[in-house]
């Protein structure tokens, strides 16, 4: 199912309190299953804070926001925090249309995300 050579995860930076995951590419039905598996694995490490850098994600569809919702639920279950930052207007609008912007913490920059 997962195609390793096609991962959207460009970089992972782990520190004591947080894991920052940098994504690059379109998060659509083609890539969501693998991204789901990878983020679930990262959530399994139970970082207190999981920050997702979406600045290099040009496009996301409902399978993408659905993937992030499921990861969010896992992170919430151990009382962790999940923050998204760097969303372009298109990606942000998908969260708005699906009314999921109410649930996620969405920041402009990594600095702001680090301070939440």
């Amino acid at each position: 199912m997962a195609e390793k050579q096609n991962s959207l995860i460009k970089e992972i930076r782990r520190s004591d309190g947080a894991t920052v995951v940098v994504l690059a590419g379109d998060v659509d039905l083609h890539h969501s299953p693998e991204l789901h598996a990878e983020l679930v694995e990262l959530a399994g490490e139970r970082p207190p804070r999981l920050l997702l850098d979406l600045a290099e994600v040009p496009y996301m569809d409902s399978s993408g926001v659905g993937t992030l919702v499921e990861v969010f639920r896992r992170v919430s279950s151990y009382k962790g925090k999940m923050v998204l930052f760097g969303l372009n207007d298109r990606v942000r609008s998908v969260f708005e249309i699906t009314k999921l912007d109410r649930f996620f913490t969405i920041c402009e920059t990594e600095e702001q995300a680090a301070e939440t």
Partner: protein, 148 residues
């Protein structure tokens, strides 16, 4: 744009086809004078419709046919628009059952039809006698496309 123009894409029910369709839709929307936001809405709605055909109509089988037709149209107040037809040969379901869910809680699933309803000006599912499902949708440029 005065003349009507029309493009048909025939793809396999493979998620790899989705970016290719998006590329075509994006360019056509730009040609018709859609702003960036409306072009994205159109692209997203078509993407969600195709994802549903792949997942529900064909239960994930990757080699089944899907036909997408994009046609330029002129709507109310002479606004240009793009009409979309998505045809499959998959499972037929009662169009009335194809509905988005309430978005009160945070969970995945049931978002695609809500997106289609929100971003398109018109949409209509039907079961053609020849089999499969037919989805017709239209989006016009400019005002009236407010999300919500």
């Amino acid at each position: 744009m005065s003349e009507t123009s029309s493009v048909e894409l025939n793809i396999a029910s493979n998620a790899k086809s989705l970016p290719v369709v998006r590329g075509a839709v994006e360019r056509m929307a730009a040609m018709e004078g859609f702003c960036e936001k409306d072009a994205h809405g159109l692209m997203l709605a078509i993407d969600e419709a195709l994802a549903n055909v792949i997942r529900h109509g064909y239960d994930g089988r990757p080699d089944q046919p899907i036909a997408i037709r994009l046609t330029t149209v002129t709507g109310p107040n002479e606004r240009p628009g793009i009409a979309v037809e998505v045809r499959d040969k998959g499972r037929q379901v009662d169009p009335a059952t194809i509905q988005g869910r309430d978005l009160d809680d945070v969970r995945a699933g049931g978002l695609g039809v809500h997106i289609i309803r929100t971003v398109m000006d018109e949409y209509d599912y039907s079961c053609p006698p020849a089999g499969g499902m037919l989805l017709r949708m239209v989006k016009y440029v400019g005002p009236g496309n407010a999300q919500g």
